[in-house]
Symmetry: C2
Subunit: 153 residues, 2 copies
DNA sequence: TCAGTTTACATGCTTTTGCATCTACTGACA
DNA sequence: TGTCAGTAGATGCAAAAGCATGTAAACTGA
């Protein structure tokens, strides 16, 4: 009871999660309606965003899939559509002939940056009034710690 | 610069949001695969969950829609399906003949509780190792403050 | 009080999603 | 080195989602 690092109560974890989840829904709902997502659905932007953050530029399809909530077949087809739109390119992985690697095209990178800039600004306008600089940093710290500490399986 | 409650930097807000969002994705991906969501898709459970938290039992469709990320027509049809499964019931709102109110049926409430119990336990197993009791409470505090402080429009 | 606007939900139609399954390749082990 | 389980992604098909629009009720303001 007097431990500094006491094991959390089941109620505490579930309430914290529920609050985090509800907050995510509230923010996403507002963002979905913003004009930057008329050009490209948010899920598709999310793919471009993830690709833009990959150091080598190329990402394995299965790896990308882990950062998204859609199923493997859905991603497979979404990439197909993004390729048809000229936003991403694909190639078979060199070291594994089963695998596919994808990357942004020039056009895809440009679109991601264009949407990204506006998006970040809207996000800031929406969220900044709610917390102080210090509180946002705490929030980032806690969510990162939570994410890296999740028990697998 | 020396303010205790300094306005957050644009970088700080977007990094905090990205971290929160990625954490949500990481948790949701793991949860989606858990056996409790074989019976009922997570989005459908989410509807039952929201209904279970309504004090009067009955909720307006448009009000419920605000707590979800799906579109109004999608919710309309989801409720139709949930009604067909016997999990929810609907009636026209008394004070507004345009409106629909829905509530859980006995069966719906039972199923929500059944899934909810397992779900909360799995959530706890997954998340508890990552943060302390105090940190979860901070996380809850910050996400609640963020949610209530979001600027509308 | 009544024309015009707005709001709440339903519906037609297309696109996207997911499940189950298939194919092709890899890696491990005998 | 050949068999066999496991993995990566594609594909057929049914379910669900979204967009545009329809209908009906509720406000609004001359």
């Amino acid at each position: 009871m007097a431990d500094e690092e006491s094991q959390p109560q089941i109620r505490t974890t579930s309430e914290a999660w529920e609050s985090l989840f509800r907050t995510q829904v509230a923010v996403m709902r507002r963002m979905q309606q913003l004009p930057e997502f008329k050009k490209l659905a948010m899920r598709e932007y999310d793919v471009l965003f993830n690709l833009s953050h990959c150091p080598t530029g190329w990402t394995r399809l299965n790896e990308l899939n882990e950062a998204l909530l859609i199923s493997q077949p859905s991603l497979s087809r979404m990439v197909e559509r993004l390729e048809a739109k000229g936003l991403v390119q694909r190639r078979t992985a060199e070291r594994d002939q089963r695998g596919i690697e994808i990357a942004l095209t020039e056009e895809g990178r440009a679109l991601q940056q264009e949407i990204g800039r506006v998006h970040v600004r809207h996000l800031h306008e929406m969220l900044a009034p709610a917390l102080s600089e210090e509180e946002f940093k705490q929030l980032q710290f806690l969510t990162e710690k939570l994410r890296t500490g999740i028990k697998d399986r």
